[in-house]
């Protein structure tokens, strides 16, 4: 891919992973201003970056709370998340970590892969996922290093 290169965490490279906050900044820039050379690829690129931010955000949280979970697939992570983070009240409003993660993941997983008949995500969709992942990142960062089962 030509054009500006984006920082991508190389697994096992030893380089410190880019923080989810930084990734979200990148995504925001992609959303608000055209990037030369990227052409029509920007929506998918943006989706990939937001998805990465989501993964990084969860990763950082699990590393702190339950390191083994970081190794699991997203399905397991999403099943575990309500057991660790958030409150019932937030869950009822769909604003708890698990709901935010689930909703963003559902869209991002689809957008980041190629589907024959599906078009690239719209700016509005990307913005919504961006908002959800931003909220999630803030929520997770604020969670204590709690013991499982406190909920």
């Amino acid at each position: 891919m030509s054009g500006p290169s984006y920082p991508v965490p190389a697994a096992g490279s030893g380089a410190p992973p880019v923080s989810p906050e930084e990734l979200l900044d990148w995504a925001d820039r992609l959303l608000t201003s055209p990037v030369e050379g990227l052409g029509n690829l920007w929506p998918r690129a943006c989706a990939l970056v937001i998805r990465l931010a989501l993964e990084q955000s969860l990763d950082r949280y699990w590393t702190r709370v339950l390191p083994e979970a970081a190794e699991c697939g997203m399905r397991q992570q999403l099943l575990l998340l309500p057991l660790y983070a958030g409150s019932d009240a937030a869950a009822d409003a769909g604003l708890d970590a698990a709901s935010l993660a689930r909703e963003a993941w559902r869209g991002l997983a689809r957008a980041a892969h190629h589907h024959v008949y599906e078009l690239a995500p719209t700016a509005e969709e990307l913005r919504r996922w961006h908002t959800a992942v931003s909220r999630l990142t803030v929520l997770l960062a604020a969670e204590p290093n709690q013991v499982m089962g406190s909920r």
Binding site: A69, G73, L79, R106, E124
Partner: protein, 798 residues
């Protein structure tokens, strides 16, 4: 909603009363509302109050069975879980899924007028192509506080039309057998729980007036539309009827002008006034006489003259002749002489009684002895008889002559009148003068009477010819006179119809707003959840204008800027709008329908909006039974991935309309799938895995218990509110299990025993791990634990 919701009919009746609308105008509105013939409305007394419905009970759907209807051939049942929850029926287009939705709506709404408006294609193609017969629909429901179920059956005879089905209600708990007695008609209007594909489709037609009507229908205001349409149609026809007489007049006048009959002149005169003389016209049309004392009547008199025929005349002459002969036969016998002689002899006989055997006192000759006396007595008798027969013959002669002279009636005056060119009475009149019997002989009579008979026949012919020439125009006159009366009536009706329509349009606006207002904020909330990334914000909605100018006024802002309403909305957004207006109403607390049936709300929604829809429907499903039909996988995949509980059925249709249903997902299955996935995740510390798996297994058992509790308790007649209260207050799996097994939490101690009875030790293990494991973790084989849980869940639901 503070005050009790009112049906359109109630509101209109009240407003008719409050506005002091004149009786005849009010009658028109009411008749139009009730679908009666308006032309007769003006004369009819209207009952003041609509039929009152009883209080219906909260109902949930238990199943829909369909056969030989639309896309469904052989009998197939869609089983549903009564009570709140979300059920999705997925199937490709043409799989027959919508047929279930339509069948349920048709059966429960009965002979609803909404079906009358359906496209002709639909109305003709309602029977299944492959299995047109038998055709029937059964909808099973549970009703709050009633044991067992209630079944609404709709059955069609072999040759019946769509609207000719037999609809009956059968309830285990007894109750009405007529659908109309269920008390559903008003709630169906106010809180209609059905949202069909075509209604959502109509919203995106793009025509402002069509959208207006579609929204009105979603708001349950069909009656308003129909009433307005009925009044408007009547007004159009009254308008054309009122003008018809005037339009037909020139043609009639032209015909009259060409017609020679004097009645045509009379008719022209009757038509010449500012107001036509309809009575005179009707009389003329009936063949009646013209005012000018006309000749037709004179001719009529001539035509009815009756003359004796020659046989009668001959007979009369014969009688006279016979009488004359009788008189001649008495041959000079003078009756008076005979009587005088008889009385002389009588006087002598009298004299002789004193003077026996003396000589005759008259002539002084012969002695009047006994022999003379005997002879005299015989003579007296003979003389009297002769005199009588002479009298009789004379009388008969007189009578016969009289009869002869009377045979010819008096000459009618009409013979001296002017009968016009076609009949000259002069000759006949002269002939009549000569008809003096008996001066005329019987032979001569026929010759003399001939001109009279000729005149009479001529008069009859003239009359007949005139009648033949007049009849067509008489028909025209009669038809026009009737038309004129109709037009006069129509003109009166038209004035009232105009007033009625004007009034209804004014009131319609108020009714619409009354409908929209209570739900406005809920609608805005639903829209907020549905719109997702849409930059269109929804303000208050109003239905504006009337007649062809009617439209939906949306107060929308696009990116914070006020927009041109509908133009900026995508199809998906319009569907979302329809749902936003439909859902709050269908889920109103006052509705007796615990269920909602929505046919394909997903069409043309983008993926993000589908997620919003999934959330909205799940939210509604917390308190209502939501049944959604959808043609693709988007909604079900959204529900799955967002972890929203739902039961999913897949509909498939083989050749010859054989429709099959398969449950592909439900909350229990989903929990178990997740538990299995979690149990396999070796990366996690076993303690973490155990707790997570236990939580998911508990979820599976609770979901199974909830399902069992709801369907058993509702079927046992426990009021819905009580069931939900019990579910809410059951905080532990143990309580929930007790409710599922015994219908009450009082049996806590017996629960484990009952679980063992259901499935032995594995089930007991599953139950106790699910209870404790969430807090303590599970020791041992997680996979086995999930299997045991599945076994228990299955046993519970059996």
């Amino acid at each position: 909603m503070g005050e009790r919701a009112r049906s359109v009919e109630e509101i209109i009746l009240e407003k008719l009363n409050n506005d002091k609308v004149p009786d005849q105008v009010a009658s028109l509105v009411i008749s139009a509302m009730r679908g009666e013939e308006l032309e007769k409305a003006a004369q009819k007394e209207q009952p003041p109050c609509p039929p009152c419905d009883g209080e219906p009970r909260l109902a949930y759907l238990k199943g829909v069975t369909v056969q030989g209807f639309r896309g469904i051939g052989p009998k197939v049942t869609l089983p549903l879980q009564p009570g709140p929850g979300l059920t999705l029926i997925t199937g490709r287009n043409g799989s027959g899924k919508s047929s279930f939705a339509e069948a349920a709506e048709l059966a429960l709404t009965g002979e609803n007028r909404r079906w009358a408006d359906r496209a002709a294609v639909w109305k003709e193609g309602w029977r299944n192509l492959h299995e047109p017969e038998p055709a029937d629909i059964e909808v099973d429901l549970t009703e709050d506080g009633q044991h067992g179920s209630t079944t609404v059956t709709m059955r069609w005879a072999a040759d019946a039309e769509l609207g000719e089905a037999d609809v009956s209600v059968q309830a285990d708990a007894g109750g009405p057998h007529r659908l109309a007695d269920k008390g559903w008609s008003k709630p169906l209007e106010l809180y209609r729980p059905f949202l069909s594909y075509s209604e959502l489709g109509a919203l995106v037609s793009g025509q402002p007036s069509k959208m207006h009507d579609a929204l009105q229908a979603i708001l349950g205001l069909d009656l308003l539309i129909d009433t307005e349409r009925a009044l408007s149609d009547s007004r159009k026809s009254a308008d054309s009827v009122s003008k018809a007489a005037r339009q037909q007049l020139p043609a009639l006048l032209e015909k009259l002008a060409k017609h020679p009959d004097s009645r045509a002149r009379a008719a022209e005169k009757a038509l010449s006034g500012r107001v036509p003389d309809l009575d005179a016209l009707a009389a003329l049309a009936a063949g009646g006489e013209d005012a000018a004392g006309g000749r037709s009547r004179l001719l009529q008199m001539v035509a009815t003259i009756t003359m004796p025929d020659k046989d009668e005349v001959a007979a009369a002459f014969e009688r006279v002749e016979a009488a004359r002969e009788a008189v001649v036969a008495t041959a000079g016998t003078k009756a008076a002489d005979a009587r005088r002689l008889a009385s002389l002899l009588s006087a002598v006989l009298e004299h002789r009684r004193e003077h026996v055997d003396e000589p005759c006192p008259v002539c002084g000759g012969r002695v009047l002895d006994n022999a003379w006396a005997e002879g005299a007595e015989a003579s007296i008798e003979d003389l009297n008889t002769k005199a009588a027969s002479v009298d009789k013959a004379l009388q008969e002669q007189t009578a016969a002559l009289h009869a002869l002279s009377q045979l010819i009636p008096a000459k009618p005056a009409v013979l001296s009148a002017d009968l016009g060119e076609e009949a000259d009475p002069a000759e006949a009149s002269e002939a009549w003068d000569r008809l003096v019997l008996p001066t005329l002989s019987a032979e001569a009579y026929e010759t003399v009477v001939a001109p009279i008979v000729a005149l009479r026949d001529r008069a009859a012919t003239v009359l007949k010819r005139r009648a033949e020439a007049w009849q067509p125009i008489a028909n025209d006159l009669a038809a026009w006179a009737k038309q004129a009366r109709d037009s006069q009536q129509a003109a009166v009706l038209l004035a009232d119809l105009k007033k009625a329509l004007e009034w209804l349009r004014k009131v319609g606006k108020e009714v619409r707003n009354e409908r929209l207002a209570p739900f406005a904020s809920t609608s805005a909330q639903v829209w907020e959840m549905l719109r997702q990334e849409s930059n269109v914000e929804l303000g208050p909605i109003t239905l504006e204008g009337s007649g062809p100018q009617r439209k939906v006024a949306l107060n929308v802002t696009v990116d914070g800027v006020e927009g041109a309403a509908l133009g900026v909305m995508s199809q998906g957004e319009l569907h979302a709008l329809g749902l936003a207006l439909f859902l709050p109403r269908a889920t109103a607390a006052e509705s007796p329908f615990g269920f909602l049936v929505i046919d394909d709300p997903v069409q043309s929604m983008d993926p993000a909006k589908v997620d919003g829809l999934a959330r909205v429907l799940s939210h509604v499903a917390l308190t209502r039974q939501v049944v959604v039909f959808t043609h693709d996988d988007r909604l079900s995949s959204s529900l799955r991935q967002l972890q929203l509980p739902s039961t999913i059925w897949a509909v498939t249709r083989r050749e010859r309309s054989v429709v099959a249903l398969k449950k592909t997902d439900d909350p229990v299955k989903r929990y178990l799938d997740d538990a299995r996935a979690m149990a396999r995740t070796r990366q996690l510390p076993s303690a973490v895995r155990a707790v997570a798996v236990a939580g998911l297994c508990r979820g599976a058992l609770e979901a199974a218990c909830f399902e069992v509790i709801r369907s058993r308790q509702l079927a046992a007649g426990v009021p819905h509110a009580e069931v939900e209260r019990a579910l809410e207050s059951a905080h532990t799996l143990h309580h929930v299990m007790a409710l599922a097994l015994f219908g009450s939490t009082d049996h806590g101690i017996e629960v484990v025993g009952k679980v063992r009875e259901l499935g032995g030790q594995p089930c007991v293990n599953a139950f106790s791990y699910a209870k404790r494991g969430v807090h303590e973790g599970v020791n041992g084989d997680l996979k086995r634990f999930v299997e045991d849980t599945e076994k228990l869940a299955k046993a519970l639901r059996r």
